[in-house]
Amino acid sequence: MFYFRGCGRWVAASFTKQQFPLARLSSDSAAPRTPHFDVIVIGGGHAGTEAATAAARCGSRTLLLTHRVDTIGQMSCNPSFGGIGKGHLMREVDALDGLCSRICDQSGVHYKVLNRRKGPAVWGLRAQIDRKLYKQNMQKEVLNTPLLTVQEGAVEDLILTEPEPEHTGKCRVSGVVLVDGSTVYAESVILTTGTFLRGMIVIGLETHPAGRLGDQPSIGLAQTLEKLGFVVGRLKTGTPPRIAKESINFSILNKHTPDNPSIPFSFTNETVWIKPEDQLPCYLTHTNPKVDEIVLKNLHLNSHVKETTRGPRYCPSIESKVLRFPNRLHQVWLEPEGMDSDLIYPQGLSMTLPAELQEKMITCIRGLEKAKVIQPGYGVQYDYLDPRQITPSLETHLVQRLFFAGQINGTTGYEEAAAQGVIAGINASLRVSRKPPFVVSRTEGYIGVLIDDLTTLGTSEPYRMFTSRVEFRLSLRPDNADSRLTLRGYKDAGCVSQQRYERACWMKSSLEEGISVLKSIEFSSSKWKNLIPEASISTSRSLPVRALDVLKYEEVDMDSLAKAVPEPLKKYTKCRELAERLKIEELPCERQILALLSQFYSHL
């Protein structure tokens, strides 16, 4: 029922057409010369697109191999990006000039920053994304990336050669064999095959092989990897059914509106593509005892739930929620799938019941009494490779120049995949030019924590980013990802555009200058009290008070300071981001705790 359409068809050759002989290698060419690239990326999901574009940004001639070009940039599960921890990863991907944050700023339909009442270190940028727009915008970006070629095709095997003696590893990858038997050679190969390695879809008692609903799994590749000696594990995940929008009675449900103004994901954007008033709302409803009853009565029809394969504890199916926390009402968020989409994504209702029972259960829920299920929820079981088999640069220990990124390493989530993709793309490219690897440490970013956890501890459930995993959470904030990574990305990896680099440099020097100017302004405390009456400035101190210390008061921000002392502070309020970052940098408690932390870590 599925299969190899367009295998070997060149879908989009890029700007490199004129420079390289590859462009001649279309399927109608009678005797093609074996094509040769710097980097091949297998898979066009969130890891693959970031990996391919990052490698190309680093100057490598790159080939992206995917089953279907029209699924590049597909959001196969939830119609949202970001969140707490995940939003941090997106800011870091953006700081390295990755795609997903910029694409989200062009494709969102409901932008909201989470955790706003908590400290700035744990703010979570999040948005509901229009699936169609995201895919369109992503494909436009990928297909127009210089040095990047995209080809449809399924990879069956790897081409291996003698290892380079100066590196560890038993052999070296030098290309791939496609299902049609053709070969493509490359200096580095990145595997981003997601859930496609022996992927298996489960609905009720039915199972059938598939990487994603409607897409064939990769079985040959999985066998190749196992034969090479990679340790393989199995994980499962699931996705909820999709419901017809017009069949839902929203009028009786709790409505949630987006932020006004919308905060963009990318450092390069001042605002998002859509006005807050044009954005779509989300709705909240709850399960009830009838839902529990249907789940419990039909456990015998539900093989996915009974199996022992580890699924994510933080993203349980409704079945596991009912089993583990009985007699409760569970939340169900009704999220829009897009501006002109007829579908609603019921977040919280991931399930693998037989399809007819899914609709029966859903119609028990308030607001969904007449709901029509358009696509049933299903479970996916898939192979992953023990990530302790890769280095911090995401190259495998076993096979030189072979890189893994994304769900293949046991992670879950678009953002986790994108983060690994950028790092794999950069390192695959650096490896070709024989430069030292680009490794982000745990002290530098969430990306570093993610990769360090995976490569040293492995994982037994799909790994998701949480801020609680991050030791240096107070320093690794979403607001300062550019100062942590953009400068390094430009200098050490070469993956950052000149424009972004200059912007990050400007921001860094402006922050430093702003802080020294704030230090230089001194008045008596009573004068400050007069200038900013709304601040609870204590007038008992006789020593002069610096503007920097006034900024530490909760009620004071750069705007109120600039109103009090327009010269020279006015210019620091012109850039909203600069003004906010100055305030965050000077939060007083932050400083004290940071001192405590540095003392702790220096005495290890």
Partner: protein
């Protein structure tokens, strides 16, 4: 060709333990796969010497050395003839013990060879083991490190074991044994658990409160499950944080738990100096006016002529130190110059050093000539040194003082003549030994108070590291109370917990996530 490569590659990838080690360093991690052997008893001629192996090839090595015999029954002593696998030459008739993992000291397969202690036998067996493929000599501490790596010992137990091996006195041995039992570890683990639970609940609120439909009033007050958790079914409308920050920060349950922890920590920190004294020796300083008999007492206690003794005042000018075992306690005994003014520059320096040493003393043995109590130097000494130490509060950390009146043999039968009022004191004659038993008993009691008696007291903190981390934990809890921002509250708890888990091991994020997913229904 590729088949060969694949086999190699498969071998390299096999074995989860190997994968656990950080490969980024490039060098293979010590202890990965290799079987180690070492002489476990002391070096030199002895009756029996014990040679141990640990690792997967242990059974193979035992079989090769005792060929053609099979493996003896597990954990039973068996008599076997050991012979050199290369020459077949007999080495020794020895007791061998076979400990298949994981029920062994290191958790790996282990073998013990109890051989006769002659150097030729020992080196012969060691060489024979070295010739078995896959075996190599162990590095210092490697058996213990493997036991630690395999979860057989925790960090405090490892330290307790190291102390046991170095225990020189009886009290040190008892202390080390107690610590090896994991008593300190147990205590710290209890504290760490409290903090882990507290932290897990704060982290749950940060990571899942708004993102993942945390379906619980996480930070509600008065929860019956401790902390802020509450087990009754409730719905909180997330994404709009319905609970105010102050509700969480001022939660009485939280405050009670943390305060109880702070009190317990404080109590143990006051204990800390005692544990250190027990490990490294209590400082006992003998002081007094010139010619009171200080050096005689030092020689008597150390049972050797440490100091020159003469009837001439000011004989001892420098500080003389000697380590001694007094009633089972390790003691660093210092003899000092007699305290007096108006002497020559050399003796003046000696007096200055004596006073300096006095300040560092844990226990002061203040010595006076019983027959000379009315002299100005005696009165002056009583008024300054003895009175000032006596005036300190009698808490554990302050100095203790034992007043000893020497030369009781010179007293008239009526006892002490007229003189100043004396605080509690002991009479002693270093010359005749009269009163020595009473003095030693008093000394033992004082040392027990200074060092702590490990057989009855709560576990002591024998290492400066322990004190450092407990203090760090206490400091961090102080910040916890002040913080207004939930991320900062979490940070303070993290640091506090981090300090404790430096002592107990563990402390990863996984433990926090386990609690979160156990206690809350998190999920999309």
């Amino acid at each position: 060709m590729w088949r060969g490569l694949w086999t190699l590659a498969a071998q390299a990838a096999r074995g989860p333990r190997r994968l656990c080690t950080r490969r980024s360093s490039g060098a293979p991690a010590p202890g990965s796969g290799a079987t180690i052997f070492a002489l476990s008893s002391g070096q030199g001629r002895c009756g029996i010497a014990v040679i141990r192996t640990s690792g997967p090839a242990s059974g193979h090595a035992l079989r090769i050395l005792t060929a053609p015999r099979d493996l003896p029954p597990a954990r039973h002593a068996s008599l076997r003839l050991l012979s050199d696998p290369r020459s077949g030459e007999p080495l020794d008739r020895a007791l061998v013990l076979w400990f298949p993992g994981p029920q062994s000291f290191t958790g790996e397969d282990c073998v013990e060879f109890h051989v006769h202690g002659g150097p030729a036998v020992v080196s012969g067996v060691l060489q024979a083991l070295g010739s078995v493929p896959g075996l190599r000599p162990a590095e210092a501490g490697e058996f213990t490190r493997r036991a630690f790596a395999n979860g057989k010992l925790n960090l405090t137990e490892v330290e307790g074991l190291a102390d046991l091996i170095h225990a020189e006195t009886e009290a040190q041995r008892r202390q080390a044994l107690r610590q090896l039992d994991g008593e300190l570890g147990h205590l710290c683990r209890g504290w760490a658990e409290t903090l882990t639970k507290a932290l897990a609940h704060v982290e749950a609120y940060i990571d899942f409160g708004e993102d993942d439909n945390l379906e619980e009033g996480v930070l509600e007050q008065g929860g019956s499950t401790g902390w802020w958790g509450r087990k009754t079914p409730r719905i909180s409308s997330q994404r709009l944080p319905s609970l105010s920050l102050s509700a969480c920060l001022l939660s009485p349950t939280a405050d009670i738990e943390v305060r109880a922890l702070e009190v317990a920590l404080g109590a143990h920190l006051r204990d800390a100096r005692r544990g250190q004294r027990l490990r490294s020796g209590a400082h006992v300083v003998v002081t007094g006016p010139p010619n009171a008999g200080k050096s005689s007492l030092v020689n008597l206690l150390s049972r050797k002529p440490v100091s020159i003794v003469s009837p001439e005042p000011g004989t001892t000018r420098d500080v003389l130190e000697t380590p001694v075992d007094l009633a089972g306690f390790p003691v660093l005994l210092s003899d000092t110059a007699g305290l007096r003014e108006g002497v020559g520059p050399v003796e003046q320096e000696g007096v200055r050093r004596a006073r300096e040493r006095l300040e560092q003393a844990d226990l002061i043995l203040a010595m006076l000539d019983a027959s000379d109590l009315a002299s100005p130097s005696s009165c002056n000494f009583l008024a300054t040194v003895v009175a000032s130490v006596g005036a300190q509060s009698p808490s554990d950390s302050s100095q203790r003082l034992l007043l000893v009146l020497n030369k009781s043999d010179l007293l008239s039968p009526e006892g002490l003549g007229p003189g100043p009022d004396l605080p509690p004191h002991l009479l002693l004659s270093c010359l005749t030994g009269e009163g020595l038993d009473g003095f030693l008993e008093a000394l033992r009691k004082e040392l027990a108070a200074v060092c702590g008696d490990p057989s009855t007291d709560p576990p002591l903190l024998t290492r400066a590291r322990h004190q450092h981390h407990l203090q760090g934990c206490l400091d961090a809890l102080g910040h916890y109370k002040q913080s207004k921002d939930l991320a900062l509250v979490a940070e303070a708890l993290r640091v506090a917990r981090g300090h404790l888990t430096r002592l107990t091991g563990g402390g990863g994020t996984e433990e926090i996530l386990d609690i979160i997913f156990r206690d809350f229904c998190v999920g999309k």
